[in-house]
Symmetry: C2
Subunit: 666 residues, 2 copies
């Protein structure tokens, strides 16, 4: 079972596409830029196990020391670098990786333990706070780095110490009477262990992943008590001194550990933790010998709950800042001045990871649609086109308190290196293949459209599928199959937003099932070159009425649009009072943004929007008929300009931006 | 300048009206019921200064000991009882008041100090935490109780020790170098001191009130620092162990102390604290020798900000549970499952108090409209018709987690005795009078309509004005003036919701200014009996579009309606998916609810509502045209029954209720 983290090696992105551009940017700029940051902030040398002055800093988010994630920052950079080196060469990057690996090796303790904080700062506290202290999260990222390192360098320099560390973990954690019955507050190691198991086939790795996933939330797992409650008691925690991210006295739901996953029906708590956990659970379902029906039902149910009730129109998840996660069902305000909006970058990357795993269980375009939605919007928006500026939070509307702006780095720096590693292996999300030997048959499934070539083997011989397209700006995709065999079929995803699609030449019959159209092998053998056309025109979208968001969002193909003050300089209130007429007409404009080396389609609406006159309403309520009149009091907007949401805060301006505009009912 | 707390003694409520019924209920039931609770919970005997076992209980809301408000619970009961004894007799109540007063006298410390907690539990901590520990709040309520006690009993048994306590406070707090430069975290004493000053004319009382009000929020008031910051340092507070009601590390805005009131433009923090503070500030404006223009501008500005952007259609204020207060501008979800709704009872009573003071500065019906809105909705809803069950939080929509239900008492019991004292002196809100001697003239201003008689003096002789009306169910009000003088004019409020009004007989010209119609003395002398008619029909109201509440609320006259499951038993989702067609037709029905001894008008809509089909929408967004179709997928509701919001949770049912229904756009 291929993971995108390895499958990408068979995929070559063609120059010119948006995805290829970002992939190139992360190599040409982000990779070295982040290496400089690792060096400048002390992370690079941290595995030398010396003291860094920042270890004395008080936590920004109590009780988590600010440097607690440094291991993962380094691991994620190594992982991303190893992906990027698959298509590029850089002796500087090679050198850095070799130095870092040497430091990690030398930082390993005699018993196999590897961790900066718990070796340098608080060695006596090792494994005493699985709930909050990210030891196992860091270990998970180290495993993923080691896998990528082994793939690229074909040596065991990193995986060797990591396997030794994993041995220690397998010994320490599990159901045995002498083992700790715990699991990480921040999931990550579970998905890493499953990927490790695919490499090692060592059942200990599968077993530990399974233990962490299935033990989580056990109300009586630790000698009759919930592990996190027993663990806190053992630490002697002051119950009044609660973590900054807890809104209440006890928040096991923050960790998605309030009950076993199999019992969870509503997605709760910290969104990144939930996504990493469910990605692992979805992977476990694929890996387990025995069917895990309860787990499967729960994971699919939680996906549905999330997508139907807790996901923004951009694919972003998480409305609540305090716990970086999910609010109540249908609570999806666009900005903090309207009650909240978080939509963390890593969470959107997590949605892509989860969707990819779910597709392996159930090939259904509803997962791919969300995967693509996240990629082009909630994820892509998190990095500026120059690859040097990032967002951690991806709000749909700015405010004076939280303007639309980017940062070059964050104290808690999970998001920027996550962009690096995602764009390092993004090719792995485009295709999947399945093959059977009896009868001999290979099927190529095309999930995403972007200029690229997939190489695969049929009957031991090389074959390929090439896409030529200007997606996401144009819905025409030219395919070219080169295969020595006639036993190759394919499936092409038809997005749910597509009003229509055409194939040319046209197969005698077209069967679309769950969002994928099947191209039979016989037809493909005769028509190795064909073209898929999906019309792309601007469309207007609304969120579920129970969100209380009576707003219209503009999309075109997979791209969600926004309005920004740089194109609409008259704005003063972050477009909060802007209303859009659903009957409005769009004109499209090809923009060649030389500064950002980006081409995109911008949209303009003429006389199709107006500004609410905020003062035209009575307080605290207005009679319906007067309300209807008041709505039309405001000024007509002559021209309203939209740009792709992913471009926000990248072209200057005053930090005012918005996705959903009030539904103007004339 | 009359306060309602004394003005009510000139007003006799006529039997039969809703207000009179509640007034009678608080005497016949609530008063004795609450006395039992005071006795049963240990409050009654607390001024004996013995130890109560509950003093050992951990705080429900850290760091505030649960019993910290007991002084105020007793004071508010005494105050309410003294109001009620103005119209009723009860030797049992007399006895209890006399016992309590004796206990309070005996609890006074040699230096004048009176406080249960800081005498019995933590005497060493007296005046060390003005920010959180309610000492001055309790003192304020003791002052108000003493004023009411003196009015009713015409003796100094209670006011004598209280004046001694106030002397201590005047000595301790103020701008002097040997004084504490602090002010209470929970305002109350300010408004009490101003009322005391009206009685004593002792300028020390005015000065201390003025100091507390104007010093508040001084960033450098305590030796170059904010008082609350210095005070916390003096206590050696652990900065990580923050009060449960603080969402962030420092929350001076919770106390409306983040800056001086004169600089505040947005109403923030705890809603009751803000209302008590602004009531005092509005009173100070009336009392001060020098005009306080900056303060006046700020108080009126904060009122406007609150009413225009932070008030529910019921008059409730405060969306945020954690800090029992205001959210961002226009953040007004109806229930906790939609992001929040608090609307505390005491806050709505505070709005009435503030409106009453503002009317004294500026006779404008916009204040009275809100005062009446609160009275009949946000306040009245907080007590069941039987006078024994209460709500602390007055949400506009229930949810499974927070059903629509009442409690017989609360650990933090501010609201029930506040209902007692409000309904004890509610007559004081109905009228105000102004008179001039040169030329001799008296004007009676009628703010509220309800069956009642106001007695007043003209030229040393008794005069009266009587209203006969079935308000709030019927808008016809018969007035009868009995006056020995012809120099009496009157003003009648015309509510903003009134589409029209008539006077019969009709004066030659009618002048309405700022919501009040003036009846000249000459006409009144000839027409001592006349009738005002204000049509009352159901009307549909919407909140400001920036609230993102695309909902319709139903009102009739001053009464806001809701739907409840007891009348609409098919409901399963707390009416969240119910949509109301603004073209719907209402039928009215007079209900004689014998169980509750209440008469009211219920409303029914036939075939004017439908249920959203929650599953008819795509996730996470739907194309606009399909969204419009999906909205009409659901089931038509044959009959939808509305009852006054104040009756919610009083007639059985399963705890499902809602005020605002989705705007159904067919």
């Amino acid at each position: 079972m291929a993971y995108p983290q390895t499958a990408f090696r068979a995929v070559k992105l063609s120059p010119g596409s948006l995805i290829h551009k970002r992939h190139e940017t992360v190599f040409s700029t982000t990779l070295m830029y982040q290496l400089e940051v690792l060096k400048g902030t002390g992370r690079y040398d941290a595995f030398k196990l010396g003291w860094h002055p920042s270890y004395d800093d008080p936590p920004d988010v109590w009780p988590i020391p600010n440097h607690l994630f440094w291991d993962s920052d380094i691991a994620k950079w190594i992982e991303g670098a190893c992906y990027l080196l698959g298509n590029h060469q850089s002796s500087e990057v090679d050198t850095a990786i070799h130095e870092l690996v040497a430091m990690i090796r030398s930082a390993q303790q005699p018993d196999g333990y590897i961790n900066i904080h718990f070796t340098v700062v608080e060695p006596e506290k090792r494994f005493t706070n699985l709930r909050d202290f990210h030891e196992l999260y860091n270990a998970g990222h180290m495993i993923e780095a080691a896998l990528a390192h082994q793939d690229h360098y074909h040596n065991d320099q990193l995986i060797e110490p990591i396997l030794k560390y994993v041995d220690l973990l397998c010994q320490r954690f599990g159901p045995g009477t002498n083992q700790t019955h715990g699991y990480p507050g921040h999931p990550e190691i579970e998905l890493a262990l499953l990927r490790l198991y695919e490499r090692t086939k060592n059942s200990k790795h599968l077993d530990l992943a399974k233990y962490f996933i299935t033990e989580r939330g056990n109300p009586v797992g630790d000698d009759g008590h919930h592990f996190y409650i027993s663990e806190a008691k053992r630490r002697g925690d002051d119950p009044r001194r609660r973590p900054d991210y807890w809104p209440d006295k006890s928040c096991l739901w923050y960790y998605a550990a309030h009950e076993p996953i199999t019992k969870q029906k509503s997605i709760e708590g910290h969104s990144v933790r939930a996504m990493y956990l469910l990605t692992a659970a979805a992977d476990l379902i694929l890996n387990a010998d025995l069917p895990l029906q309860d787990l499967q039902r729960a994971v699919f149910g939680l996906w549905d709950n999330m997508v139907q009730r807790k996901m923004y129109v951009t694919g972003g998840i998480g409305a609540m800042k305090q716990w970086e996660g999910f609010g109540p069902d249908y609570f999806l305000p666009q900005g903090t001045d309207e009650g909240g909006c978080y939509a963390e970058t890593c969470a959107a990357i997590g949605v892509m990871m989860l969707a990819e795993r779910l597709l392996k269980s159930d090939l259904d375009g509803r997962f791919t649609d969300i995967m693509e939605l996240c990629l082009y919007n909630a994820v892509l928006t998190a990095m500026s086109p120059d690859g040097r500026n990032f967002t951690y939070v991806n709000q749909l509307a700015s405010s004076d308190k939280d303007p639309s702006q980017r940062s070059s780095w964050f104290t808690c720096a999970c998001c920027p290196p996550n962009m690096l590693r995602l764009f390092g292996h993004v090719g792995g999300y485009i295709y999947s293949t399945s093959s059977s030997s009896e009868p001999k048959h290979t099927e190529i499934i095309v999930h995403l459209y972007t200029g690229s070539t997939l190489k695969f083997e049929v009957d031991g011989k090389e074959a390929s599928l090439t896409q030529e397209t200007n997606w996401p700006w144009n819905g025409n995709v030219k395919f070219r199959f080169e295969s020595p065999s006639e036993n190759v079929s394919c499936k092409l995803r038809i997005p749910a937003w597509a009003d229509d699609f055409h194939l040319s030449p046209s197969p005698p019959s077209l069967h679309v099932e769950k969002g994928y159209v099947s191209i039979p092998a016989s037809w493909l053998a005769k028509n190795p070159s064909f073209e898929l056309s999906i019309p792309m025109t601007p469309r207007l979208m609304k969120q579920h009425p129970l969100t209380n968001q009576d707003t219209i969002s503009v999309a075109r193909g997979p791209i969600v649009y926004c309005v920004e003050d740089v194109d609409n300089p008259w704005v003063t209130d972050h477009f909060r009072s802007l209303q859009l007429d659903p009957q409005c007409q769009f004109t499209e404009r090809n923009v060649n943004d030389e500064g950002n080396n980006d081409n995109y389609i911008a949209l303009t609406v003429e006389k199709g929007a107006s500004l609410l006159d905020e003062g035209a309403f009575s307080a605290p309520s207005t009679k319906v008929n007067k309300w209807d009149e008041a709505v039309n009091h405001g000024e007509l907007v002559e021209e309203l300009h939209f740009v792709p949401y992913f471009l926000r805060a990248s072209r200057g301006g005053r930090g005012q931006a918005r996705v959903g505009l009030k539904h103007w009912r004339k």
